[in-house]
């Protein structure tokens, strides 16, 4: 763990950072050099001094600078020289929501990201879009006070990096890109259709993608049903298994299955024309895709697919964190747990499915990891900066692996709790913070 420092305000000297001579040595900080001090996106010129009266776990900083940079004193910081700047941090922002009142209600739950605060260090500010004052470069939000273990409301400065768990419109995306550049992740939320368009161009991924097309007019239904016995109709932007329809081509008619408000609907339509008419009444103005249905493996009549969580670590490398099998409710078309399904550690399910040995399970698992990491890299090559992802895969009766969906809006590691793995749940959240820490200028030292 990198050494962390308490900041002692210097009530007298102006524009001064005073450190212990050993601190300077350990951090390769040349005292005579002309330095700037960076906290968040702000930088100020400083006079660097050394004094052995300052302990090795302390730095002393002029109160006026603490004021101008708005550095919370309750936190412990790492310091790192980069070029002609001394970084003090990390200072990480979590953009939680668009509205202040929602932030106020939910901010306490964010503590789950900081269960291992000691390894993150620095200041973490939770904020809403409403709390941003672009003129003052200030945010009205909450800073985590590690001494009291609570979030404290106040007006703070912009952080060095932003981890966002809400949706941004284009205007805000532009703003954040302008201010933070590549130090924000999950800024752009890609949809199902984009994912398909990007990944189908990659030869080694193409065969893991169910065929998909964007639904524009009834003709698309006709041609797609011509190719596939069963198709799914999904909203381009939806998640949590909502608004999904399954269409099965029978001898004489078309069968529709979907869940809405906890009720399973199932009925027949006689032709494509009626089907299109039904969808027109359902879709409103949203966009939908048509997706080839995979012949899912089922156990005891329950459909099974898998959710894998990926997260980047402090070095910026992707880590496959967990795989969870989701059992759909008997007869349901989706496997979403919220829709009444159940969950199981993915490896156990694999073993049951194919009656595998432990070693075979391990190889399956590796293969799956390999495919999805490939997919994620491709997504990033198409310009989306991700830090964590939730990926749904399926395995069909032919033992083929399919990538169903990738989600970077706010992939919820709650799935880990569904298999009672609290450790992984917190670890994933911790990993998100560590990646933000890397972006904030504090990558893992090698």
């Amino acid at each position: 763990m990198e050494p962390q420092y308490n900041i002692i305000p210097d009530l007298q000297d102006q524009n001064c950072l005073t450190i212990n001579p050993n601190t300077a040595k350990q951090n390769n900080i040349l005292v005579q050099k002309k330095w700037f001090l960076r906290f968040g996106i702000q930088v100020l010129e400083i006079k660097l001094k050394t004094s052995s009266r300052i302990n090795e776990n302390e730095v002393k900083l002029s109160l006026s600078m603490i004021d101008s940079l708005n550095i919370p004193l309750s936190c412990r910081y790492e310091i790192r020289p980069v070029d002609n700047e001394i970084l003090i941090g990390p200072y990480i922002g979590i953009l939680v929501t668009s509205r202040k009142d929602y932030l106020e209600r939910s901010v306490q739950y964010l503590t789950s990201y900081l269960y291992d605060y000691a390894h993150i260090g620095g200041a973490v500010v939770a904020f809403s879009l409403e709390g941003i004052d672009p003129d003052q470069y200030s945010i009205d939000g909450y800073i985590f006070n590690p001494e009291k273990n609570q979030w404290e409301q106040g007006v703070y400065s912009y952080p060095a990096a932003v981890f966002k768990i809400t949706y941004l419109n284009k205007r805000w995306r532009n703003y954040f890109q302008t201010v933070f550049g590549n130090r924000i992740f999950n800024s752009y939320v890609f949809n199902k259709w984009e994912m398909y368009k990007w990944l189908c161009q990659v030869p080694q991924l193409n065969r893991h993608l169910p065929e998909t097309t964007l639904y524009k007019d009834p003709k698309d239904l006709e041609s797609f049903l011509h190719l596939h016995q069963q198709i799914y109709v999904k909203p381009v932007n939806g998640s949590h298994g909502l608004g999904i329809y399954k269409v099965s081509k029978m001898e004489e008619y078309l069968k529709i299955d979907y869940d809405q408000d906890g009720i399973h609907y199932s009925f027949s339509l006689s032709n494509i024309f009626d089907l299109a008419e039904f969808f027109r009444s359902q879709f409103k103005r949203k966009k939908y895709i048509l997706q080839q249905a995979i012949d899912l493996i089922s156990i005891e009549g329950k459909n099974i697919d898998f959710r894998i969580v990926l997260a980047k670590n402090q070095a910026g490398a992707w880590k496959d964190m967990i795989m969870v099998a989701k059992y759909g409710k008997s007869g349901s078309i989706v496997t979403n747990i919220k829709s009444g399904g159940s969950a199981e550690i993915g490896e156990i399910t694999l073993k049951k499915m194919f009656d595998l040995s432990d070693e075979e399970v391990f190889r399956w698992r590796q293969k799956i990891s390999h495919i999805i990491l490939e997919a994620v890299k491709s997504i990033e090559q198409f310009g989306v900066h991700c830090g964590n992802l939730g990926i749904d895969i399926a395995i069909d009766t032919q033992k083929r692996i399919w990538i169903i969906e990738m989600n970077n809006l706010n992939p919820d590691p709650l799935i880990a709790l569904d298999v009672n793995n609290r450790k992984i749940f917190y670890k994933i959240k911790h990993m998100n913070m560590l990646y933000a820490k890397k972006l904030a200028g504090f990558p893992e030292e090698v």
Binding site: L11, Q12, Q14, R53, K60, L63, L73, S74, E147, V155
Partner: protein, 351 residues
């Protein structure tokens, strides 16, 4: 070398008070003309105390020039002097028989002032207990079960700011700077405070639950001056922060800020502030000669009663000065001029 004779002199700080001198030249041109009086502005760097010669800006009506002038008999000091050299010059100037300097010092040792004020009748209403900060007074104040302590710089809060120390849980204290803060164990408190202070002197004051505004307590600054009649008067009252948190000038009346939170009872707090401040100034005259300008700062408790936190001379905070209504800025300069004129006429009458 031609040495001009001038009637009144004004000392300013070339670096920190350019804003003052600019307006001063404009205003004083008219006054010089009207009263047929020659004025000089100068900095201490341009005063030769041995020779009693100034190299300054003279004003004779519309005529403004850079030239040498003899030391005038009456001088108003707008500046604050920090260096040992400057302080020595001011001391010598003050001790000269033929010169009277008004506001020779614009920053005071606050614990001395507070101690003086303890003997002003009725001062308990606005004066909180205070003492020079050291280990024994800190222990004493903590043992007194004060839930809050204020740590105030001995002479000026420019740049140092006040620190609020609040009891937090058992044996823990929050050391607060505006909205920012740091928790500190009782045993580490002394060490931490000492480190912050850099061996400079501070005053410990019993803290109060204050009326909060912005990032810290609402502060009022009352400006008082002696003017044409030689008597103290209240010039203006600013709502601001600058002692406990960042410099902010509120363009709102103290009365409006405070009364906004009371529905039925409307107290004229500004009147109270003005009355108390006038009493303070008249009292300080007994202990400190040649005061001409005073700024007196208060914060408010939850019942909106004012509590004294700082006494200074002529306004040194450029931001607060410039934020004031230009008419008030004019008044402050105008009073300085007229007070000197009053003293000049007074000594003339006495022969």
């Amino acid at each position: 070398m031609q040495i001009e004779t001038v009637n009144l002199g004004f000392i300013y700080d070339a670096k920190k008070q350019q804003h003052v001198i600019k307006r001063m030249v404009d205003h004083f041109r008219h006054l010089s003309k009207e009263y047929k009086i020659r004025l000089v502005f100068f900095t201490l760097e341009n005063l030769d105390i041995e020779e009693q010669i100034i190299n300054g800006t003279t004003i004779t009506g519309n005529d403004i020039r850079q030239e040498h002038a003899s030391l005038p008999p009456l001088i108003y000091n707008f500046a604050m002097h920090y260096t040992i050299n400057q302080i020595e010059i001011m001391r010598n100037l003050r001790k000269m028989n033929n010169v009277t300097v008004i506001n020779p010092i614009n920053r005071f040792i606050q614990d001395i002032i507070f101690e003086m004020l303890t003997t002003l009748t009725g001062s308990q209403q606005f004066l909180l207990p205070s003492a020079t900060f050291n280990e024994s007074t800190l222990t004493e104040y903590l043992n007194n079960k004060y839930h809050t302590l204020f740590l105030l710089p001995e002479k000026t809060f420019h740049p140092p700011k006040a620190v609020v120390i609040k009891r937090f849980r058992k044996n823990h204290y929050m050391i607060c700077f505006g909205q920012n803060g740091k928790m500190c164990g009782k045993d580490d408190l002394l060490d931490y405070i000492k480190k912050m202070m850099n061996n400079k002197k501070y005053i410990l004051m019993k803290g109060i639950k204050y009326f909060h505004w912005g990032e810290g307590p609402l502060e009022a600054r009352v400006y008082l001056q002696k003017g044409a009649g030689g008597e103290w008067s209240n010039i203006t009252i600013s709502a601001k922060s600058c002692i406990f948190s960042k410099d902010i000038f509120y363009d709102t009346k103290i009365n409006n800020i405070l009364n906004g939170f009371i529905t039925n009872e409307i107290k004229n707090i500004e009147q109270t502030l003005a009355d108390v401040s006038l009493r303070i100034c008249r009292f300080l005259d007994f202990h400190i000669p040649f005061l001409g300008s005073c700024t007196i700062d208060y914060i408010f408790d939850e019942d909106h009663c004012p509590h004294l936190v700082y006494v200074g001379g002529f306004e040194q905070n450029q931001y607060l000065y410039l934020s004031m209504d230009p008419a008030v800025q004019y008044k402050l300069l105008n009073n300085a001029f007229h007070y000197l004129l009053f003293l000049a006429n007074y000594s003339n009458e006495k022969g």
